[in-house]
Amino acid sequence: MSTPKFTAGQRVRVRAAFPLGHVRTPYYTRGCVGTIESLAGVDRNPEQLAYGIHDGPSVPLYRVRFHQTTLWRSYDGNPNDSVVVDVFEHWLEADLA
């Protein structure tokens, strides 16, 4: 089990990766910057479970808040609107900007 790398309030970017295979990170979040809301838990990686590997290492899972305006270029609702998405740690990198 790995120790969580990120803490609440930290800005993170979802990796703009597009691998083949089973992925839980929604396509529309890839490459986007959000803020760590909280640690959702530490769990086995569904990308491995999906292929029958049930004894792999556990991975921290975070709730990440994104502004709708950063996800959708044409978003014309309230600019404060946001959405919280569960993202596993290996999909996140610190956003230092």
Binding site: F18, P19, L20, G21, H22, V23, P26, Y27, Y28, P46, L49, A50, Y51, G52, H54, D55, L71, W72
Partner: protein
């Protein structure tokens, strides 16, 4: 790669929210999935089922009903794992079809 289930943000058709009561065979499929997942180590995990349903592809996923997708995905997984054989499955399907035809004729 964007897989067929990952449709957040795409334009789509109206969603049918009707929930017809489950048929007996659908309940059996659901229970079978649970039983296969109960062994340690599990013979089939829910994550594998999700992956196998995605593997059916967009066409089959939209053509088949919810539990038809489950059935096709479970069958493919059991074949891949060598828990059942194609021949075994084919013969069993023939047997069930024959029984169904006979029951309907009565």
């Amino acid at each position: 790669m964007r897989r067929p289930h990952d449709i957040g943000g795409l334009d789509g058709d109206a969603i049918d929210t009707a929930e017809p009561p489950a048929e007996a065979w659908e309940k059996r499929v659901r229970v079978m999935r649970q039983v296969l997942g109960r062994k340690r180590p599990p013979l089939l995990m829910v994550d594998e089922l999700r992956r196998a349903i995605e593997d059916l592809g967009a066409d089959d996923q939209s053509r088949l009903t919810y539990y038809e997708c489950w059935t096709a995905a479970i069958a493919n997984l059991l074949l891949q794992k060598g828990l059942i054989s194609v021949d075994e499955l084919g013969r069993k399907m023939d047997e069930v079809t024959a029984r169904w035809v006979k029951d309907r004729a009565q």
